[in-house]
């Protein structure tokens, strides 16, 4: 199964391998959500939604539905 950001546990890190560009808004890519960059799950709200991430040094929160389209390799 392909792992996505939604699979990360709190404190875990991964490397982004791919993002499905149909679902991911350009703005997120521009904030650094790109293949090769690292992503860390800082904190989750109830039902892991939204997710508070550290992507390549940028701290941001996205909804789970978006996180499901960012593919990663867990470190």
């Amino acid at each position: 199964m392909q792992l996505t950001v939604a699979h990360l546990k709190r404190g875990q890190r991964g490397i982004i391998t791919d993002v499905s560009s149909i679902y991911i808004p350009l703005k997120l890519l521009e904030m650094g959500c790109l293949p090769g960059n690292y992503v860390e799950l800082v904190q989750v709200a109830h039902f892991s939604d939204p997710m508070y991430l550290n992507i390549n040094g940028t701290h941001l929160a996205i909804r789970k539905e978006t996180a499901l389209h960012i593919f990663i390799e867990i470190l």
């Binding site: 560009s21 997120l28 039902f47 508070y52 390549n56 040094g57 909804r63």
Partner: protein, 699 residues
């Protein structure tokens, strides 16, 4: 004539553009630690060395030149329209030293537009704390630009920045990288089709729907031959472009920036572990709100009492000190009590603004957005709607403007429509005075009943906003893509100066804004209350003296009867009694009715209006509150402000749409009259109904 150059401040959200703007122009635009504080173009003037004058333009933050929300469009439309009177001669790109990598993306795009650009690296005071060091000459060379290392907090680098701006002619306009490499063939064709146009500008126009001025758009649409790409293809190309830009930036920073992680300290992790916690996060948020309400009560009662009694003395002094006449009584009975009705609330309003400002400056707002997003979504709102809803407790107008950074139009529209339900500071005076009249002073578990009632009213406001959002979410058939990204800024110690300035500025705006309306209304009211038609008004003395002829009244008592008889038969009284049947079922008399009607201009005039009505013709000088407590219900006898009529009034004000300025701003932001009219009718109708039910049940 000295010449003037246009300087635009551009950069990612929350990098300190407005702080730089304030440092350059000496103005005090609002600064806050939340991405999306500035949503409109703001302008100011700065004097530069060698007699150059600069026209500085502060812009909303944007992550890139590909706009995804309304506030970002402002920037792109300005940069792509050479004919705009504000088109910049030089772009000052403000970046945050802690997020340099991401900030440089926008910088490389602006370089591609071949606009002379200066790079400001702001927040330099944080470098040591974060273990960051920079090789400025290397960066300048790689990026083809001049760099100013600035700290607006420590006031460093501003002089150097001014120097750089005044030498803007020396800046290179060569791009620092070549983005067209992502698809050579496509871009070559494009260049051939439009040899006179800037390639990157073409690309921006092709890939998005912003309004760039008709001519450009039509010209490009006319030539069909490059429309060979589907939307998905274009998006893939944009992705490639972004990767390409990041490659360049990473290479540049590899040598240009070093970060020593050992010295880097991070307060964020520790704080966020609690503040965004699944349980503690909410508990803390609730405690913060509770503290705010308690404080608004406890801290401001002393200055309030002082202001109240001062206005009474002022009124008395005017009456005794000035020669008798119409002007003196207009002053003493109309204007002074009317203004007193607003000035008395300055302490509370200031405390409210203080708390909001601290929440915004500390970076906590984004955490609340994070905590609330899931809950808010259930109501068709976005986590970002919480910011308008919270800042709506100050005033709905900036709150509605703050919705501009919500990406999704449906969520944004719903937020705009429901924000007026939140308890704005104009409702506060009404609440405070009525609560103090009808709610007992006791305490329960250390919390005053009065403070708790106030908190309850705020919750009712939020509740009404949420429920109506849910209904709107069901009714409105608007399809728009949902997507949600919010940046979580670093925590910052609120800058004392910023907080104080915001508080003063906003309180001033509140007092003067309301003051103007109140001045006008209290003058009108005084005239209407002091003159009347026919014998009833003009022969009041005779009528009263015959009516009470056989009851031995003292002179004072006679005067009182005459005054109230006159008031009742004045123009104001006649109008008031005409509307009385409509409001009697809610437990109000005609005087409250007049106050209610004048509140449709702005709610905060309620207390002032009552103060003016009550003081016309009366001799004894009393505080507003005592006067209200002394009012007698004309039908039932007993005090007019009872628990039942008080609650009914509170609820009426909680729900009714009584603010012209809000309606105007809703019209502007939604670009239609339909929404504000619906708001006015539905909210006020609902308010009437609820107030009616409450009074009938409680009386």
């Amino acid at each position: 004539m000295s010449k003037q150059i246009n300087v635009a401040l551009i950069g990612n959200p929350n990098t300190g553009k407005t702080s730089v703007f304030n440092a350059l122009t000496g103005l005090n635009q609002k600064v806050g630690n939340y991405p999306g504080i500035t949503v409109e173009k703001k302008e100011g003037i700065c004097k530069l060395p060698r007699g150059v004058k600069a026209h500085i333009i502060d812009l909303p933050g944007t992550y890139s030149l590909n706009a995804s929300s309304l506030d970002e469009n402002v920037v792109i439309e300005l940069l792509l329209n050479k004919n705009d009177k504000d088109f910049p001669d030089v772009a000052v790109v403000v970046s945050d030293v802690e997020n340099l990598k991401r900030n440089l993306l926008l910088f490389t795009q602006i370089k591609d537009l071949e606009i002379p650009a200066i790079l400001v690296i702001n927040m330099a005071d944080r470098m040591r704390y974060k273990g960051i060091s920079l090789d400025i000459p290397h960066l300048e060379e790689q990026l083809n630009t001049k760099i100013a290392l600035v700290s607006t907090r420590k006031k460093n680098g501003i002089v150097e920045l001014k120097e750089l701006i005044s030498n803007y002619k020396d800046l290179s306009t060569t791009p620092c990288m070549n983005a067209s490499e992502i698809d050579r063939e496509y871009f070559d064709n494009l260049r051939k089709a439009f040899p006179n146009q800037l390639l990157y500008k073409l690309w921006l126009v092709i890939t998005q729907d912003v309004n760039f001025g008709k001519t450009d758009r039509n010209e490009i649409d006319a030539v069909a031959n490059f429309k060979t790409k589907t939307k998905a293809d274009l998006k893939r190309l944009q992705q490639k472009e972004t990767i390409k830009r990041y490659q360049f930036i990473n290479n540049t920073l590899k040598k240009g920036q070093t970060i020593d992680l050992n010295t880097a300290k991070d307060l964020r992790i520790k704080l966020d572990r609690i503040l965004t916690h699944k349980v503690w996060g909410y508990v803390i948020f609730f405690v913060i709100l509770l503290t705010i309400f308690q404080a608004i009560y406890d801290w401001s009662s002393v200055p309030m009492d002082f202001i109240d009694s001062s206005f009474v003395s002022l009124s008395e002094w005017t009456k005794n000190g000035l020669p008798e006449g119409a002007f003196t009584s207009l002053l003493a009975e109309g204007i002074i009590p009317g203004l007193g009705g607003i000035v008395i609330f300055i302490p509370q309003i200031a405390f409210l603004f203080l708390f909001i400002s601290v929440l915004e400056e500390s970076g906590y707002m984004s955490r609340v957005v994070f905590l609330m997003d899931r809950g808010m979504r259930r109501f068709g709102l976005s986590g970002k709607s919480i910011v308008p809803l919270i800042s709506g407790t100050a005033c709905a107008i900036p709150a509605i403007m703050a919705t501009r950074n919500i990406e999704n139009w449906k969520e944004r529209l719903i937020t705009i429509l429901v924000t007026p339900f939140t308890t704005c500071s104009a409702r506060l005076p009404v609440y405070l005075i009525i609560i103090s009249l009808v709610i007992p002073e006791g305490r329960f578990l250390g919390l005053g009943y009065q403070a708790m009632t106030l908190m309850l009213l705020y919750l009712i406001g939020f509740g009404a906003a949420l429920v109506s959002a849910m209904i709107l979410n069901k009714i409105l058939k608007i399809k728009s893509k949902t997507f949600f990204v919010v940046e979580m800024p670093n925590y910052k110690l609120p800058l004392f100066k910023n907080v104080v300035l915001t508080v003063i500025e906003k309180t001033k705006a509140f007092v003067f804004g309301a003051g103007k309306i109140i001045l006008a209304i209290s003058i009108i009211l005084w005239f209407l209350a002091s003159y009347g038609p026919g014998d009833d008004f003009n022969k009041a003395e005779e009528i009263i003296s015959t009516e009470y002829a056989n009851q031995n009244l003292t002179e004072d008592e006679v005067n009182e009867h005459v005054a109230s008889y006159k008031l009742e038969h004045s123009f104001l009284g006649i109008t008031g009694r005409a509307i009385e049947p409509a409001i009697r079922p809610l437990g109000y008399d005609w005087k409250i009715g007049i106050a209610l009607v004048s509140s449709f201009a702005a709610r905060e005039v309620f207390v002032g209006t009552l103060a003016t009505i009550y003081s016309v013709g009366s001799d004894d000088e009393e505080t507003i509150k005592n006067r209200m407590a002394g009012e007698v219900n004309p039908i039932l006898g007993g005090p007019l402000f009872t628990f039942a009529s008080g609650i009914s009034l509170l609820l009426f004000y909680a729900f009714a749409m009584q603010c012209m300025s809000t309606l105007a701003i809703v019209q502007r932001e939604t670009n239609s009259w339909k929404w504000p009219i619906l708001q006015l009718v539905i909210m006020s109708g609902f308010a009437y109904l609820i107030a009616l039910i409450a009074f009938q049940l409680l009386k």
